[in-house]
Structures are given as C-alpha cells and as structure tokens.
C-alpha cells in the first residue's frame, strides 16, 4: 500500500484542483484549479509507467538497459503542451471578461442567466 503513494498523490492533486474549482469564486483561481487537475492527471500517467529499478529510456550512454515505459512519458509530454495551451486560452478569455465586465468574480457573471 505504501509503495503506491504516487497514485494517491495524483488522486489527491486532482481532488485539490476540483475543490479549488468548486469553492473559489475568482475566475483566475478556477483556471489555476484546472491546472492542478491537469498536474494530477500527468502525475498519474507518469506513475503508471514506472518499472522498479528502471532508468530513463534513452540509450545515449545509458547506465543500464533496464528502462521504464516510454509511451506514458510521451503522452505526458503531449498533455503538458495541451495543458499549457488550454490554460493560455482560458486565461485570455478571463482577461477579456475582466476588462469588459470590470470583475472576475464568478457570482457576478449574471449576464447569461435567464
């Protein structure tokens, strides 16, 4: 059980992110919560690919040929870039909103309620 701590950490990060999204009212903080969820998912992805005693899967002057899984690392790289892109787009939206509305408080975004 204790050796599974990376998985628990990943789940915990996702949970913290969700809690931030649910409880905070500032749009920027909500986007930060989303980034936390992303970090948790990335951690879970990388952790699933670990093999005990393995080294990074790069053969240039490698210390041994017992290596960890490569696919998840590639997936994590992809997801990191996607995450940066998403965060940038959402933050741009928040910037426009806060300039046009004069507030970032989510409870004051009443214009789309019926």
């Amino acid at each position: 059980m204790i050796e599974n701590i990376p998985f628990f950490c990943a789940g915990l990060l996702v949970l913290i992110g969700l809690a931030v999204i649910v409880t905070k009212r500032d749009l920027i903080k909500m986007v930060m919560g989303l980034a936390l969820v992303e970090a948790g998912v990335n951690l879970l992805l990388v952790a699933t690919g670990y093999i005990s005693g393995g080294v990074a899967p790069i053969f240039t002057n490698a210390p041994s040929t017992e290596m960890v899984m490569a696919t998840v690392q590639a997936m994590t790289l992809t997801n990191i870039v996607i995450g940066i892109a998403t965060t940038a787009l959402l933050l741009s939206f928040v910037m426009v909103i806060s300039r046009k509305y004069g507030t970032r408080d989510v409870t004051e975004m009443r214009r789309l309620k019926e």
Binding site: A56, I58, F59, T60, N61, A62, T65, L77, V81, A88, L91, S92, M95, V96, R99
Partner: protein, 155 residues
Amino acid sequence: MNMSNLVRSGANILMPFILVYGFYIVVHGHLTPGGGFQGGAVIATAVVLLMVAYSYENVRASVSKHVLKNSETAGLLLFIGTALLALTAGLAFFGNWLLDLGVIFGTPVAFGVNPGDINTGGIIPVLNIAVGIEVLGAMGLLLLAMLGGLKGDAE
C-alpha cells in the same frame, strides 16, 4: 517601464546563450532528453526575458508579429509536409521515409547503449526542428497577444 541597466546588460549577455541552448535541445532531441517542444519553449523564454528587461513597447517594436506568425506557419507546414512526403515514398502517413537511407539523418542504429550520432533518426530531427520553429512562433505570439491585451492594445 525599463528595468535598470544591470538587468538589461544581463539580458543582453544571456540572450545568445539561451538561443544556442534552445537550438541544442532541438537538434539533439533524438539523442538526449529534450526535443522540439522543449527547445522551442526555451527559445520562447528569450522573448520573455526581453519583455522583462525592456518595456513591452520596445519589444513590440523589435520583435515583429509577422516574423513570429510566419515561423509558426512555416513550422506547421514543414511538419505536416514531412509527414505527407511519406505517402509519396509508399509508406503510410508519418512513415519514417528518411530512415536507413544513408544520406543526412539516415544512418542505421543498432540496438544497445551507444554514444549517439547526430545523423541518425530519419525524419525525427526534421520534425523536431519543425516543431521547434512552430513552438517558438506560437509561444511568442501568445505572449505578445496576452501582454497586448493586458495593456489594452487590442489588435
């Protein structure tokens, strides 16, 4: 607003090192940790450094949006073009058509630990460079767009 002389001189000195380091990460992507995305991001931090050291207006004046946009488009077209060329070589989309050809990047690699040669990897270094150019342009554009939005300078 301009930062102090010290910061600006430091930025001037660091700038070439950042560029060279980013370029190194891009072209050695198939041998050492790194690759197009990472290297492109490192080069894009040079733009950030400029923005920190000098004012946004100065950077806007010296770093042209058109150059960044062109480099983004060129990188993407090079990327998808390289992948599409595999079709003409009789392989599937994204086939490694430069592999084992013996010409540039085409040296075969055997299994096992080795010191690494730059001219291996087939289309991988080409794609790395393409992605590097694209990420540099895209990150630069994003930063300029968001900073421009911050200053209320819409365009």
